[in-house]
Symmetry: D2
Subunit: 203 residues, 4 copies
């Protein structure tokens, strides 16, 4: 089995993105699967084009996309991608979208179809905070989630996909308000490793 | 114009639900519209049946549903309802759903179609914290949002609908962890009043 | 009775400080007391010198200092000032202190002696989130609290003093992480007004 | 060198206390020091009596007390203990104190004197979220901190003492509001281990 795992570039004034830092630390194989790691730019539609290229080249059985959710208090398993581009900030090339669809005439939403319950249980068992989430926002994280699930639906039948949101690193919260949660890189990386191993067993 | 505004009963161990407390305080009319106020039970499918009955009886032009979002730091305008019943807790009659669809073979999601941008702008202008939200969860709030939008799509063309989430009241946070945000009832009620007045002007 | 109420200038990259904005809105008198309002600079020792000058000039019965506590989820009544200057950021003139005493050989701490229980009860009764707090930090807010209580102890016997921390305004949280709490200016101002009226009755 | 490290019993409706769970996991020795681990009851004055007994028996060079700070987003190094007993909840034997001094005619506060800057730097270096805190509250954590520092001042000259607050475990936040932060037990234990090792080098 081949599992494509992606992380994102830094954005929104941050100099690091813990999603890609954690993905880089994944082992190259897990029992039953080869892990292929790629980073994606925080740029509307370009991220999706590049992801589509990786999928066409690699033909993964499962696509696990990872991104930073500033302010999250836990690992978050995203269950839904919606057909909407809307954010308070522009992307890394300066394009600011508010209310545009990802895909004109596309369905309103797709549900993630990677084995989210088994992934959740395995991370919880390891004592790491994890939640199901019903919104990946409407910025780049949701963008690639919706896009990958649309590709699975229309072009790569049988391919599974889903999204994992990760908290800030402790060092990212220093200049942020009291009470902004974070998670050590080591813990984030361990949680993603566990989830990928679970996918290799379950998917 | 007729605007049906709903709030919910208390749930999850709370003795009050600020959504219904605030809805009760709305004026009976605003310039251009009559306001009809109803409360809904926190019970899967029954809430939707009762809401459907009110809609059939009242034939509102707009349905504004309100509910409590414990832990929210602001008023939240919900933009999407998804076809999923899933929560950590049971409903008020003890039914615990995890992963069931609201409507077998229904579309994955509906987008709210009340005038959310004008509502947002009016509340922000009044100095009250407000956010667009892309998830009403997958408990009763999402349930009635999805259900009302489905009725608008299939049975009452032209009817508009959407959902407003409100924070805890200050008194609800006393036994909760440090940092749990709240909003005075007076402020919540003012924000909903402003949103309803905006709808009467815009919808 | 004369009550001196102070707020602070903006600091830490903010363009407003809700403490002074709210203090400015106070009525000029309340039953039983004249209210004198002054703003203070966010500058180590200079703030204290200026405050000392106001106290000498006005001879207030009570000094109520107000300041911004970014990330606070409620109004906070500060109960203790400590003999320490320590912050992550420099003051508005660029001086960065870490570990210095406010007063060499001063006592470690002073307890606030304004009527905090009556103030708390009155704000809670009005449905506004309020907490007792046992730390005003170790930046300028603590600085003037400790300094004013030291003046009460050593130079103006009978003078009462204490500190009130206020949350961010909603507009200050827009570029901050999800979950950053705020309070409308109107609500902050109402809470301070209630507390000052209570002091006029109780002190 | 002997380092006495304490944790607390569960309280406030919790069935576990991560402070004691983490302290139990400490190694029995670190380079340069023997570690002695003890748990304390969440009972006013009794906690202090028992702690005093341990100190008399063990004659530690340093006392490191640990406790749970529900809602904390990081490890917190407490810098000040104040002469006050005040909490929203009763202790584990039902005594509810509001406004009582710990020590009649004691000084208002004591500053921690363990090597907090080196401890902070070592934990931060390990990528774990850590903050200096200027309030351990006014419940049992502050109680033993103030008490131990008073003992150091009056009875055991040269003894150093300080307090470490730890977040909830992930499993404790399940029934709490969205946004309640937590930290894996493994991470908490690692942070305390690092701090104790630092003390052995520095104190």
């Amino acid at each position: 089995m081949k599992i494509l795992v992606t992380g994102f570039d830094p954005f929104g004034g941050e100099t690091v993105n813990p999603s890609w830092m954690a993905v880089e630390k994944l082992t190259d194989t897990v029992p039953g699967a080869e892990i292929i790691k790629r980073s994606l730019p925080v740029v509307w539609f370009k991220a999706l084009d590049i992801l589509g290229g990786y999928i066409e080249e690699i033909r993964p059985d499962v696509v696990v996309m990872c991104g930073q959710a500033g302010g999250a208090d836990s690992m978050r398993i995203e269950r839904v991608g919606i057909n909407l581009c809307e954010a308070k900030i522009a992307d890394n090339e300066g394009l600011h979208l508010v209310g545009d669809p990802i895909l004109k005439d596309g369905p309103n939403a797709y549900f993630s179809n990677f084995p989210y319950r088994a992934m959740f249980a395995a991370v919880e068992e390891a004592g790491i905070a994890v939640k199901h989430s019903f919104s990946a926002g409407a910025y780049l994280c949701n963008h690639v989630l919706y896009g990958a699930l649309h590709l699975a639906e229309t072009k790569y039948p049988g391919m599974k996909a889903g999204f994992i949101h990760v908290p800030y690193l402790p060092e990212q919260t220093e200049a942020k308000p009291e009470g902004t949660p974070s998670m050590p890189l080591e813990t984030i990386a361990k949680a993603i490793q566990i989830m990928v191993e679970t996918i290799a067993k379950e998917a």
